[in-house]
Symmetry: C2
Subunit: 115 residues, 2 copies
């Protein structure tokens, strides 16, 4: 079974990629601010995830040769189009999240209770 969706999930399925993409939707953001606005992300994962996004052409990195250093990240065209997809995901979830929660509750404990 080959299902391209899987590939996409490899791109954005990590714990932080989507959050970062969301944070970049408003325009260029510099590293430190990005870290704060994502919230809870470690320095390591911030860099690592950004490198990955960069490698896939979703995020653009600009390093200003100043001191102290200043680095800004922004979405590429490709990244913007992907964040559009992310909004589709959001949309689906907010529409159906209650249904999921409801089902979980009904299912809590019982095994014989199908819907």
């Amino acid at each position: 079974m080959d299902c391209p969706s899987r590939e996409l999930l490899d791109l954005i399925g990590g714990k932080w990629a989507i959050l970062i993409l969301c944070c970049l939707q408003q325009g260029p953001v510099r590293s430190g601010e990005l870290k704060r606005s994502v919230g809870g992300i470690s320095q390591k994962m911030l860099t690592q995830t950004l490198r990955e996004l960069e490698r896939n052409g979703l995020v653009h990195r600009v390093s200003h040769p100043e001191v102290p250093p200043r680095v800004e990240y922004s979405l590429t065209t490709l990244g913007k189009s992907l964040s559009g997809v992310a909004r589709e995901l959001e949309k689906w979830l907010v529409e159906h999240y209650n249904a999921i929660l409801d089902h979980r509750e009904k299912h809590a404990g019982s095994i014989e209770d199908y819907s």
Copy 2:
């Protein structure tokens, strides 16, 4: 930063969930056949993922009281609607996958090469 997309990824971000949902799109499939048609999945992950999908109301499980046992899985209404979202993901990916691959190649080795 809260981004509902993340929640959805928790639902289907695993290694197998999407594949299973795809395999169920054609209609009810029994366990063994599902395992074969997914390909490469272990017994453990098959059951585990199905239980999770079931728990979230995406998949429906019917056990026929026969011997040898026969169990069939199918998509619920919710599951079907989700697999629709999956197709959106697919669509995006097939449209942009080459762009991603191209970018990766250009990026291979160079760090200073932005797009």
